[in-house]
Structures are given as structure tokens and as C-alpha cells.
Subunit: 328 residues, 2 copies
Amino acid sequence: MREVTIGIDIGGTNTKFGIVDKEGHVITQGSISTAKHEEFRDYFKELAGALRKSLNELGSDYKLLGIGVGAANGNYYKGTIERATNLKWKGIIPLADMFREEFDIPAIITNDANAAAVGEMVYGAAKKMKDFIVITLGTGLGSGFVANGQLLNGKHGIAGELGHTSVNPAGRYCNCGKRGCLETYVSATGIKRTVYKLLADHLEPSELRGISFDNLNTKMITECAIRGDDVALAAFEYTGRILGMKLADTVVHTDPEAIFLFGGLSLAGDLIFKPTIRHMEANLMPLFRGKIKVLPSALQNQAAPILGASSLVWNYLENEPSRRMIPS
Amino acid sequence: MREVTIGIDIGGTNTKFGIVDKEGHVITQGSISTAKHEEFRDYFKELAGALRKSLNELGSDYKLLGIGVGAANGNYYKGTIERATNLKWKGIIPLADMFREEFDIPAIITNDANAAAVGEMVYGAAKKMKDFIVITLGTGLGSGFVANGQLLNGKHGIAGELGHTSVNPAGRYCNCGKRGCLETYVSATGIKRTVYKLLADHLEPSELRGISFDNLNTKMITECAIRGDDVALAAFEYTGRILGMKLADTVVHTDPEAIFLFGGLSLAGDLIFKPTIRHMEANLMPLFRGKIKVLPSALQNQAAPILGASSLVWNYLENEPSRRMIPS
């Protein structure tokens, strides 16, 4: 009997899911549309049906231990999705309870960045670490903190909102309503804003002058930088400086062994890692210098959100072993 | 049989100790000179003798469960004091091992601010909290973080150095070698520096113009502010603004239920709490607004360092109950 968990990644457009074993092998995966369902009940019915179909196809050699869900605004304590701006459904959705009733197994929900942190611990490069941080660099900047071997959820289930620490109280406008938040500088959107600021302030020629804001993306900026484009290079240096300075503040809170960078921007390699590490070290309290590793996530592939979500179940069973004994 | 623990607070001048019960009653206390002993062996011999004498005087109705020590640069993992700048003894002192050998009981060491955090959890206002921060406002600014009900020590045993987050990279010089650290603004020394900056920049008359930097202290600034002195009032407003802005960054890391302020500056009451809370709320990510309490520590008395140190033992026994079973 091979033990497996299901990982579900609920995005605004599509919901992806996979059946995953303890070593992080995705045995089978699938997806359904999130956006087409106006009513949550209809969405849940299609999702549950798709999961049952995948499980049946696997056969009876597999034992399902639980379901993990990563979703924007997923609340770990309540097992709910609350007022997610990227989803149509209003109010508070008791998703964990619904999965528990439907499949009679544990269901755990948290936000995407927390799921990425647990994924790194269960399958990735943080397997032997008890204190680390994962920073997800997508449209925004998310983060998940692990300390003493446990995910930090905080009192209200909202720990790890590093994207909304302050770089400059009079700085760039942020979706959250504040100004100058870290994610307005350090994220796929942040580096685009930096490119446009540099193009506005400076005279240097640049390939990037030919691309509209809407068409610009991290991959283009990376490729330009590799070809030696001054504006693209300056944008990475600036992004790494801001991230490095803020990480110097962050690490004195929880004293992590490592910080993992995940997602689009982190794929730029040395272009982002070198300035980040240099400016972090330069701004660190001397006691911390040379102690904190900044590393790429080991889960840099398309299945990462599914892996992160599925890892929640293994982590849950390990920390609350008595739950495994409850007759189902 | 009444169970007790010993709390020891090692300061540069004196070492204070007390025998404490589970409810936080200091049954007996004493002190010896730290500074007079050039050799650590001599110091330890006097301290162990004083502890034995206190225990003997208590009689046989009491059972000693362990010794807790709070000291600058105390390392929780190694049980050592390392290169403390306020102590004469060189190198790494294996204090926990020495206590364990001498008394045949568990001994736990950590820095003063971490001890204060555990003290707040065991005896103080954080008894029912699992996620909170204690900030100690003395000559510098120390902090201890509790998350998921556990003290955060971090990978290298140096978590919670909030005093060395950055307010301004080109700001005031700090003992740590950096510039613009939080503790250069928010601490007994920080508010003195702010008073002197205000006296330099402004023309307002102030009682504080008659006091030298060396003679100035937090109590004087507080009393002047209560009498309506504009410079003293402005110094508290400025200090609270800096602290509030930095706390808005800190709380998005661990999402605490409360932040406790401890020590000299915190005794100024509304003068420091009101601007701190106002500026924290104004700078907080909206998701966190109205959720985080900022409160005075419940251990605001002279025995607080002894209580904090003694609490380490209760906390240790509660988290590692098997230790209690080891035959002594």
C-alpha cells in the first residue's frame, strides 16, 4: 500500500491538482477551470468529481492520507478561504470542512507562500532545516517563515506578509493601500516599475524602450541584462539592493539558516542573487554576517504549487501524529 | 514538597539571584559582585556557595528543579556565555555544564530579552498567548519573540535582534558598527540623543538645556514632558513615531497577538504608548490594522530579570517533559 496525498492549487483562472507520494513524485495531475463557476457549490462538485476520478484510475494500491490546498487568503486555522480578491465567490468558504466531509480525511489550507515554505521543508532544499524563510517572487512578493521546525501562522493566521514591509513611506503605490511596500519594488511587477523609472530618468539607449509596460515581463528584462543592456542591468542591481537591505532587517527577527528565493525573478540567477547577497551582507548587524545563506528554491518547476499544497498533509501528520490514528 | 527554580541575572557589576515558585513568587533572593572577580572560576565558586547557602536556609520542604540564567550574549543552544562585552572573562564560558555538574539539575541560559519574553509567558501578561513579542527598552533595545508557544532562538541562537534593524542607513552611529539602528533612536540612550538633536535644531526654551548629556536620563525627560516641556514632549513623539513605524514592519513577520514594552522608557506610559500605537496603525498593512495589542509588561519590577531567568526552567520542563523523569 503506497501512501499518497492530494495537493490543490486554487488560482483565479484554473485549479490544478496532483496526487503526490512522500518523496514528492507527482503520480498523476489534472486541472479544472476556477473562473467558469459563478457558484462555489458547482465548482466544488466538479473538483470533487475530478479528484475521485483520478483516485479511481490509480487503483486500490494507494491510500489517500489527506488533502492540502494552497490559495490566496487561505486561512490555516479556520480552514477557510476568505474574501480572496482573485476569486468570484463572496464571503467565507469553509473549504477544509467540505473536503473532510466529502472524503473523510484531513484537509489543510494555507496561502501559497506558506505552502511553498512547507514544500521546501518536506521535498526540497530545506529538508534538514528547522529555521528558514521562503520568498515567492511572482506578481507580488509572498513569504513563508519556518522556525523551530514549524510553519509560523501567527495569532490571526496572517504571518509572513514580508511583501508589505516598508521600503519608503512616500514611495510607490501598493495594491494594499499603503505606499512604498517591498513588493512594489521586488516582484515581477516591481522590476517592471523600476525599468520604467530608469527609462524615465536616464538617457541610455535600451532595447526596453521599445516595449510597452503591459508587454514587458521578467524574462525579457533578464534576457536584455544577459545581452548587456545597461537599463536591464541597473534594474536588477536596484531590485537586489532593495531586497538585500530589507532581508538584513528580516533575518534579525528569526535568525534563519537560509532564505530561499522562488519564482520568476529568482530564475535570473546571479543577476538577482549577487546584488541581493552583497547588499544584505553590507547592511547586516555584524553578529549575523556570513551566517545566512540565500539560495534558489529546489522546487522551481510547474508542479511546485501542487507539491507545496500536498506537503501540508505530510507536515500535518508528522506534527500531529495522533490524527493518523483516528479511524476514518 | 514545593517545587522551585533558581533565576540568575548576570550583570556587568552584580549578579542577582532568587529562588522562585511556579506562581512567580520570589521566596528568597541575594546577590554577589560580578566585577570583583578577575577569574571566572573564583566567581563561579562564590556564586555556587551563595546558592547552596540560600537553598539550605530554605530547608527540606523545597525541591529545586533547575537553574535559569539571563546574561548578555547567553547562548541557549550551547549553554555558554560568549565574548560578552560587559564581562571581564575572555572566551567561551560553559556555564550551563558547570551548573549541571555542580547541582545535578538542568540549567538553561539565554540573553536578557529572551528571558524577559519567557518570563512574560510563564508569570506575566502573556500566560495565555502563543504568539507575542517582548521589547526591552534599557540602555539598548532588546527583543524576544514567542511563536507557536515557543521562544524563537533561531539557527545560530541569535534571533530577536530587533534593536539592529535599520531606521536610516545614514543615521546615528551604533555600538554594533552600523549606522541608524533602531536602538540608536528607541532606548534610554536613543531618547537622550533625540533630546540633544532637538535642542540643537530648535529655539524653544526647555528645562533640559540645563542638563549635560551624561546627567540626563529617561526619568528626567518623562518628568519634563509631564510638566509640558515642548522639547521633552517632542522627544517622546519622535521616539514613538520611529518605534511605531518599525513595529508595523515587525508584526507582518510573525503576526503576534501582542507586543509588550518593558523597562525605563515604557514606564512613561501614554507619553510613549500613544505615539507608538498611532504610528504603528498608520503604517500597518490594512489586513493587520486593529489586530495587534501594544501593552506594558506585567513584570515591571526590580525582580523581573530574576523572574525571567527562573521562568526558563519551567518553560524547559513543560516543553521537554521527559527531562523531568531523568533520575538525578
